[in-house]
Structure formats: C-alpha cells, structure tokens
Symmetry: C2
Subunit: 203 residues, 2 copies
DNA sequence: CATGATAGTGAACGATCGTTCACTAGTCAA
DNA sequence: TTGACTAGTGAACGATCGTTCACTATCATG
C-alpha cells in the first residue's frame, strides 16, 4: 500500500486507537482533539489522503470513517516476514497478513471452539489445553480431525465412518482407536477441526 | 448475564452484524430498517433494555452505541464448554470465553507473529506453517521457547544463554542443538513465544 | 380485571457532525 | 521561482442523529 506521511500515520493510529478503545469511529472534532488540530478541515485533509491511498473509506454520515478492507483484515497481530519491519502502521505498508482467528475464520454461528483434553492427539500436534477451532457440520470426510460428541461428551479425534460403525482414532500410540458400533452409543459429529489456538503461559 | 427477549436478541444481533460489516455502530434509524421498526422510539426501547441488562452502553452522540466490556471480550469465536450451548447471543448468557488472538494477546506494538519453518520444534508441538505469536523482548529466561534472529534470519528454538555462548535447542531428536559462541554470528533475541495459531486446511 | 413489561407509531426539537468556502504558511522538486 | 503537496485556521450551512412527548396494542401474572 502507498506510503503515508508521518502526520497521516498519526491520524490513522488515532482512528485505530479510538476504534480499539470504544468500538466506534471518532468524529472529526474528536480526532482534532487527539491530534491537536483546531479545524475540522485540517483533520479532513488527512482523512482524504488516507482514503485516497486506500486506508480508509469515508461515508458522509456521523462517525462515518470506515477502515478499508485491506486495513480491516490487517488489524490483528501482524505477521512479520522480515524482521526489520516495524509496527503497527509501518507494517501495513509491506503487509504480510495478520493473526486474528476472528478474521481468519469469521465470527459466524457455524464456527466455535472446544478445549482439547488429554494428550491422545499429540502426534497430530494437538496438546492438552489447546483450543480447537471447529466448523460445525453434520458430517466430515473420512480421516479428518473432527470434534465428536459421544453420549453428549465432546472429544477431538480422527474420524472414520464405516458400515455399521464409526472409528475414533487417536494420534498417540499409547491409546487404542475406539470403534463405536451403531446403537452402542450416540455419536454426533460436531464438525471439522479447522484450526488450533494455543496459549503458552501468560503474556 | 441477564436473559434477553427474542426481540432484544435480534436487536443485539443487528448491532453486532453492523459492527462486523462496517466497523461502526448503526443509528437508530438504520437499526429500525434492519428490524422493521418504523419509529426511533421503538428501537430506543430495545437499546435501553440492552443497556440496562449490561450488553450495551449508550452514549448521547451520533452512532453512540458501544458494546459493554463483557460483550466486547466475547465477540470472538465462542468457546463452548457444554455442547448444548447455542450461538451467538445465547452463548453470551452462559459465557465461557472466546477465541480471538487479538483480545487474547492484545494488538500492541510489542506483540507480533512469525511463521514456523521446518519441523525442528515438533516435539514442542510446533508444526511447519504454524504462526508463533511472539511478545517482543530483548532477552528471555533460559529454557523458554523464543524467536531469535541469527544474522537477520528468524528462527524459533528453545533458548539457553551461557557464558560466552548461546544454545538454540530444537525439540526434535533428528536435529542437533546449535551452539553459537560470541562473535561467531549475530544472535538477537526477538522475544518469547506466547502462543500458537494453526490453520488446518480451508474453511 | 388491573397492572406492568414489552413492542410499536408519529412528530418535533436541539445538538452534533460532515461539508464547504476563503485564507495562510512551509517544503521540495522542476 | 513557480507550482504541487502537505498542514493548518476559522466560520458557516444543512443534514443527520439522539432525545423526548403523547398515544396505542399485546400479553402474561397475580
């Protein structure tokens, strides 16, 4: 994306900070107070430049500043390819993506998360305490890692459907696959695991 | 949190959808159009109820609807403890948390992410392609998993500082630890790995 | 049957906000 | 040195928006 002047960057940072703090866009006069600009026209010039360069979209309504799609997809935690890259707006100008499970997976009714219990899937890279992001679906393809409810209890396993039974295969040689024949227990596929989020210690 | 009526839930959903789509809160009249309510007073009643129950905060300015802190912390991907729990507002009423790396780690200059290359940390649960969330710090405690730049190239390893050298230890028996003596190469600690985000296939 | 909560209509008022006009000043490349 | 761009001030206009008032309807509860 096109480079910004120092003042324009400050202005974009102020907009982002306001959105982060309050969840809504600032008015021209609020921005003026944050940037120490007395005239709404002075603020407007910066916003027009930011809109022209593709960072913002201006709507002619109250608090009508919207982030452009590019910026909206990039306001998570920046993925730095080159270590030299700075933060946070500088990174936008040579932008490589952002970590944000919400923008990665959306925040839709069919996406949820379950916590991984035990180490039965350790060889598939799922550790105890990981959050498995699941896309809800009534069935999944054979061999996929799925979240499954057995008699109402949720578990994450590799799923295989066969004639008259389903196999829930762990990914750990210390555990045996569980074969559930029809009628033995109520097996309900919750969905496919499409992501993992792990938190290591505290910040 | 206090339960909502069906109409109030629809109203909160409309506010969230507007925020998700445009990044800014709706006006009373916009909400009225979404909910098929002709009078701003009809809309206002719902918003007052939502504010009274702690879901929203109303400011007397244009587009002055803000989410409460509780709701703002919960608008990611819901973590479902009990499978019975619904989505998305229902889950709020017996809320267990939300996955959202931004709200988990904040979106601050000192937090960024690097992509894991290779399988040298596989036994620590880091797979190729994972995003390692890093809290920037000039040094880390011995034994921590750290992002380190060796001669400008980033890598993720277990970090040990010794007298006159540092050891970068992989977590994979197929790789040997790398001992870098002072002056041999420029080793710069980027920070500690505080999280992992993995995307498995597409949605 | 009354009461309170929920749900809604329609109109009007005043404050806020985006927009626009006219004017000033510094910087930098052609 | 002349534009072009950036960065401001100050004032004013009209549209939008939150607020408020008066009034109606439905429905469950005691």
């Amino acid at each position: 994306m096109e480079a910004l002047t120092r003042r324009q960057r400050k202005c974009l940072e102020a907009v982002l900070e306001c959105l982060r703090r309050t969840g809504r866009a600032p008015t021209y006069r609020e921005l003026g107070r944050m940037l120490k600009i007395a005239s709404t026209q002075g603020v407007r010039r910066h916003l027009e430049a930011l809109a022209r360069k593709g960072y913002l979209v201006m709507k002619a309504t109250a608090r009508g500043i919207e982030l452009s799609e590019e910026v909206r997809g990039a306001v998570g935690i920046p993925i730095l390819g080159r270590i030299a890259a700075g933060r946070p707006i500088e990174a936008l100008e040579n932008f490589e993506g952002a970590v944000d499970v919400v923008s990665m997976y959306g925040s839709y009714p069919e996406v949820f998360a379950v916590r991984v219990v035990g180490d039965s899937m350790i060889d598939a890279g799922l550790q105890e305490g990981d959050l498995a992001v699941v896309r809800a679906a009534p069935r999944v393809e054979n061999g996929a890692i799925a979240a499954v409810a057995i008699d109402g209890e949720a578990t994450v396993k590799r799923f295989h459907a066969e004639v008259g039974a389903v196999t829930l295969a762990p990914a750990n040689p210390r555990y045996a696959p569980r074969i559930v024949r029809d009628g033995e227990a109520e097996v309900r596929v919750l969905g496919r695991v499409i992501g993992i989020v792990r938190k290591l210690g505290s910040i």
